[in-house]
Symmetry: C2
Subunit: 166 residues, 2 copies
C-alpha cells in the first residue's frame, strides 16, 4: 500500500525542484561512469521514468517519439545503463529481456503473472530485504534480486471450467 511517487510527470521534465528525476539521476550515473549524455539516452530515461513495471526493449523503442533512435541503440543504451546501475535487466515469463529503473526512489514492485493469459498484477508486499542483510554478511556486495509469481488468474479459471464442461 505504498503510494507511487512517480508516473505523474507533466511530461518528461528534467529539473523538478527538490526530488531529482530519473533523468537527472541517470545522467549523474552516466557521467560518473565516464559515459556521454546523448539524446537517445535522455529519451530512454524519460520513458523508463514513466513506468513502474519492467519494460520490454521493443516496447521502450516504440514509446520513444518516432525516429528517436534505432532499435539497436536501445539495446546498446540499456546495456550501458545496466553497467552503471541505472536499470536492472530481468527475464520473466517469456525469455525476452525486461528493464526497470533501479535508481534510488524507485520502489521495487513485484508482479503475479497469469500462466494462462499473461496478464500481470502487482503484489503489494514482499519481505525480501532481510535476505539482502544475510547475503551482505556472507560477503556479497551490490545486491539486487528478481522475484516473480505465477498463477492462473480468476478469469482464466472460469474460462477453463466452462470449456471443460461444455
Amino acid at each position: 500500500m505504498i503510494a507511487a511517487t512517480q508516473s505523474n510527470h507533466p511530461l518528461g521534465t528534467v529539473s523538478s525542484g527538490n526530488v531529482p528525476s530519473p533523468v537527472e539521476l541517470g545522467c549523474e550515473r552516466l557521467k560518473a561512469g565516464g559515459m556521454r549524455i546523448t539524446k537517445p539516452r535522455i529519451a530512454l530515461l524519460e520513458a523508463l521514468g514513466r513506468h513502474s513495471a519492467p519494460l520490454a526493449i521493443e516496447q521502450l523503442h516504440q514509446e520513444l517519439s518516432r525516429n528517436a533512435c534505432d532499435l539497436v541503440t536501445v539495446y546498446r543504451c540499456l546495456a550501458v545503463f545496466e553497467q552503471v546501475g541505472i536499470v536492472q535487466r530481468s527475464f520473466l515469463h517469456n525469455g525476452t529481456a525486461q528493464y526497470e529503473l533501479t535508481l534510488s526512489g524507485t520502489p521495487k514492485r513485484y508482479n503475479v503473472v497469469c500462466k494462462s493469459c499473461g496478464a500481470a498484477e502487482p503484489v503489494d508486499y514482499f519481505p525480501v530485504e532481510g535476505i539482502h542483510e544475510v547475503l551482505r554478511e556472507r560477503g556479497y556486495a551490490n545486491l539486487s534480486h528478481l522475484v516473480e509469481f505465477f498463477g492462473v488468474c480468476p478469469a482464466c479459471q472460469q474460462a477453463n471450467t466452462k470449456r471443460h464442461s461444455h
Copy 2:
C-alpha cells in the same frame, strides 16, 4: 538445512520402494495427462532428478547418454513436462530457458548469482509461502514463483579492488 532426498540413485532406477522417484512421479503425471511414456522422456526425468538447481536445455541434452535423443526432442518433451506440471520453466540471469522439477518432494532452492563471475550459490531460507496464501485468497490458482538474487561475490570484489589500485 533440509537433507537432500534424491541425487543418489544407483543409476536411473524406476522403482525405489517407498519414496516415489522423480521418474515414477513424472510417469504418473504423463499418464494422467494422456501422454505417452517414451525412452527420451524417462531419460530426461532421470537427468532432472539428479539435480536440484535449474538446468538449461543444452545442458540437459548433453547429460543424456549420447544419442539418447535429438535436441529438438528435449525442447518438446520439456514443453510437455511443463504442461502437465512436472517442471517449471524460468529465465534467470541470461535469457535462456532453465527447467527444474516441481514434483512433490522436490524442495525449492534459491540462488545468489555473482554479477561478475556468474557463480551461483544456494540461499537457504526464503519466506515465500505466505505470499502464495495471500494470492490464493485473491483468486489465483496453481501458484508458483521464481526468485533469484544478484550480487558481487567476495572473490570478485577482491579481484576488482586489486585491479583498480594496481
